[in-house]
Each structure stands twice: as C-alpha cells, then as structure tokens.
Amino acid sequence: MATLKEVQTKISGVKKTKQITKAMNMVAASRLRGAQMAMEAFKPYAEKYAEVLGNLSEKASGDADPLLIKKEEVKNIHLIICTSDRGLCGGFNANLINKAKEFIKEKQVSNVNTTVTNFGKKGRDAFKKSSVEIVDEHIGVVGSSFNFSVASNSGQSMINKFLEGIYDEVYVLYAAFKGMGKQVPTIRHLLPVSAIDAVDKDINAPYQAEHICEPSPDELLGEMLPKNIFIQIHNALLETSTSEHAARMSAMDNATKACNDLVEELTLVYNKARQAGITADLMDIVGGAEALKG
C-alpha cells in the first residue's frame, strides 16, 4: 500500500492539473463565443452572396467561365486541410487528419496525385512526415481572429494554379460546426465549380422580370465565381476555428471531470492508509502496555 505522503503528493498533483484544465475550459469557452460571433457575422454575407449568384447563374451560359469547365483527365488534385495549431482538444485534429489521409489514399488508388495546403500546425506536422507534398502552410490563422484577406489570398493562388493547369481539382477539408458536441470533418469540392445550386425558389414568389446585368452576365459571373471560392474557404476556416474551441471545451470539461473522480478515489486510498496507520499505532501501544503489565 502506498504511503500517506505519496498519496498526498498525488492528490495535490491531480488538483493542480484540474486547475489547469478548468482554466483552459474557460478560455476555450470565451474564445468559442468570439469565434461563433465571427461565424454569425459572416453568415449574412455568404447567404446574400449565394442568393445573388443563384439569380445570376440562371442567366449565364454553362461554360461561361473557365472555372466552370471540368478537366477531362484528373491527375493532380489539391486539398486544403484546416486543422488547429494547438492540441489538447480531444480527437479533433486526429479525426481531421485521418479523413485527409483516407481521402488521399482513395485518390492514390485511381492514380491521382494529391498535394496539400495546410492551415494549422497540427495538420502540417502530420503531413511533414508523410510523402505528401505540402505546397503551402499557414500557421496562426485557425483559432485566432483573422480577416477575409487570408482566404482571398489563398483562394486566388488556388484559382491561378487551377487555371495554369497545375491542379485539376481543388478540395477543402474542414471541421463543420454542427453544435457544441458535434464537429464533423467534411470535404468540400471547390474547383472546378460545379453547377451552382440556386437558392430554393419560393414557388409562390411573384413573377420577376429578368435581371439587367452590367457588364454582361458572363462577365459578372467571371467576377463573382472567384469570390465565391474565397467565401467558401473563409467559411471553412471560421467553422474550423469554432469547432476547435468547442472541441477543446468539451475535452477540458471531460478532463476536469476525470480529475474530480481521481481525487475522490485517491482521497479514499488516503483515508484508508491513514486508518491503517492509526490502527497499527494503536496495536503498538496496546502491545507495549500488555508487555509492561507483564
């Protein structure tokens, strides 16, 4: 049986760990609020954009823009991977990385080569060791506050490389935020742009005259499509950030609970050890007294 001192040290150690996990939980909670607010703030823009683009796409011709044209032979694809910079958030990063690896393997079977761009340190570290080529990496974005230019710069380089023919397809992998306890690794197809889903039209909506477009619908589409890619990347980053904080919050919550259980258990051990000590001491005294009586 462990000595009293040992158990005591262990208890105070676990208590200190608990303080840390509790603090991290609270930090994650406040960051989560910030991230969620940024996500909420972005939503109207993305929604309105989809609405306008939906209206426009009805007018433009199917192959109006090079971004819409599918490559006949797909050989090189690119995957943007969003993970967090920091750990201690449960299986959050592992899930994302596994999903990415699965995807890459799947593509390899059909002889398609995948290169990656990493947002977040964890994803980068995971792929540094593998044979997958990392084209670009962005650290310090996910999980902090960032502005739209991050997405537009990265998106622009995707578009350029797509147009140059270096990438035949581009995908983005991110953690979709489905709620506090649910973050789902999701892969979304970015390029070439598949037919735009028009926003569900209200059948009873009053008749609307056709849009006048200035410049022509095709030109407008050429302006709007790249922007839409940026929006999707930005959205992926925002969702991953929010998911990261949510995942960390619940991971830390679990850790705190585990600490509580452990302290309880250890206290029991401690008390037992103390009791055993007292009994032993008593036995000694009684034994001594008996001996003196003679």
């Binding site: 954009y49 306008v52 739209f148 200035e214």
Partner: protein, 136 residues
C-alpha cells in the same frame, strides 16, 4: 412620396446597414447609378467609392464601399461590399496620408511602378475624404 426600398449592406465582417430608405446612389463600375423602389432587377459590380442614400426621414447618409456587387430588386437593394465604412468610422488622417503616398508614387514614376494600384488607392482616399468633407 414614393415607396421606400430596403437597403442591405453586408460585408464579410458584419451587417452594416439594413433599413428602409428612399433612394440609393451607388458607384457602379460602369458609372454611378441611383435606385428607387420598383426598380427592375439589376445586377452590377461596384468600384470603390461613396454609397449614399436618403434614409426614412429624408436625411442624407453616406458610406464608403471598397468595391463589390450590387443587386437591385423591386423591393430591395443588396450591396455585397468587400468592406464598408460609415462616415463616422472613416479615419480622415489615414485617408489623407494614403492620398499623399499614392500621389507621390504617381509623381515619382519609379521603375516597376504599379500605376493601377496607385490609381486605386488614390481613388479610395479621395472618395473617403469626399464623404467626410461633403456632408455633415
């Protein structure tokens, strides 16, 4: 009085304006245009400049928008701007500084000088300053 039209200005960061207004004047790439209620559906790109409108009670208001898209529908106008600043948010000193810088770049005409970039920042600065100075 004509009916009001709903103006919605959104940027990636936030919802800037959402209110009923009497008239909207926006800086289209092919020229400035005004929109009243009942406008035929219309879609265009915007350049950097001043977006002004007369609000419900007839007060003139102005925003600086740095390019984007505008969609007009009979009952509403959606402005998708890369960024938008209300008059009170415009930093006059900063605008003046960037105006000077851009002007200097244009005057000096160094090698590998990017005229287009200088022109755009000049235009931005001028319209920012214009918004602050013209109307109080």
């Amino acid at each position: 009085m004509a009916d009001n039209i709903k103006l919605e200005v959104v940027t990636p960061e936030k919802y800037v304006v959402s209110e009923d207004v009497q008239i909207v004047m926006a800086p289209g790439t092919l020229g400035e245009f005004g929109i009243l209620s009942g406008h035929t559906p219309f879609l265009t790109t915007l350049k950097a400049g001043s977006l002004s409108y007369k609000d419900n009670s007839g007060i003139d208001r102005a925003l600086f928008v740095s390019g984007g898209f505008a969609e007009a529908l009979p009952d509403k106008v959606i402005i998708l701007a890369e960024s938008a600043e209300r008059r009170r948010d415009i930093d006059l000193d900063r605008a003046q500084q960037s105006l000077d810088r851009a002007q200097k770049r244009i005057d000096q005409k160094k090698e590998n000088f990017d005229y287009e970039r200088a022109r755009i920042s000049l235009q931005r600065a001028i319209s920012r300053i214009g918004i602050v100075k013209t109307s109080i």
